[in-house]
Subunit: 160 residues, 2 copies
């Protein structure tokens, strides 16, 4: 199955929320996103990596629109005590850049190429979330235009 | 924009790889996935949450097919020293369950409902990766059939 990169997308005016050292047990993620949903907060990207399954803790990050951040900070401060999370850290100067395509899961090189373009430019990748048709990363918004331009070039989308 | 859940997918025979306490600087993710790509390893899901941007460390998790795990373990053991990662932890009994739909980013309730179904069943969510059209979680494979069945019911896909 040949992969085809069909486009690069960029979402600015985003903010990142990191919930640090949550209890890693069933129902925790449900509680967080139910609370956000009840407050009509749209969540764009959610990423949770995995630690040691015996550690009993984990971290979750998600993005929201920058204008929702103050409201989200209040919600999370209350939730933090209830959940027993160690910290809630936010950042309001980020963007989500994505490579969109078909068949990317069968082509391990696409993520490698995308991350290399950013790495070579010294752009730090803060969050990663992927599916077969989309690889999304969070980077500082100041680098977003540059990232999109370089990715367009790498995947030859400017020659179309 | 109304959201529509069009299906539940389940990928079994997967394995999870967690790289713990990596240096959080440009080029690290590129190195990992270039090495995997050079070894023809297909990566299904990648998730990286964010910690404290001043901590200098991060964790990355990804999934591969179970049959590729022994090869990946060797690759990662070599890479671990080069990158200065604290640990590489793997798990070979997981599955990826996804809710697939349209317009999910504008509907915060979908992730909340999916996570609640799993949480109520005491199924622990080990990894999360999302896009507007797909919410994917990693859970223990022994719970996959149950999870799919319950999610079908929740999103009324069995009434179609
Ligand atoms: C950390 C969080 O995802 C937890 N494991 C849960 O299942 O809700
Ligand atoms: C941890 C890893 O993602 C690193 N921040 C990078 O940009 O490569």
């Amino acid at each position: 199955e040949k992969f085809v990169v069909s486009g690069i997308t960029c979402k600015k005016d985003e903010a990142k929320v990191n919930i640090i050292n949550l209890p890693d047990r069933p129902g925790i993620a449900a509680r967080i996103f139910s609370e956000l949903s009840n407050n009509n907060i749209n969540v764009n990207m959610i990423a949770q990596s995995s630690l040691d399954d015996n550690s009993g803790i984990n971290n979750i990050s998600f993005t929201v629109s920058r204008e929702d951040l103050p409201k989200v900070v209040k919600i999370m401060e209350n939730l933090k005590k209830e959940l027993g999370a160690k910290d809630v850290i936010t950042s309001n100067n980020i963007a989500i850049v994505s490579v969109v395509g078909i068949g990317m899961k069968t082509n391990p090189g696409v993520a490698a190429r995308m991350f290399s373009i950013l790495g070579n430019e010294k752009i730090n990748i803060e969050m990663i979330s992927t599916s077969e048709i989309k690889i999304s990363v969070v980077i500082k918004e100041e680098f977003a235009n540059k990232a999109v331009q370089l990715l367009h070039k790498e995947f030859e989308l400017d020659k179309v």
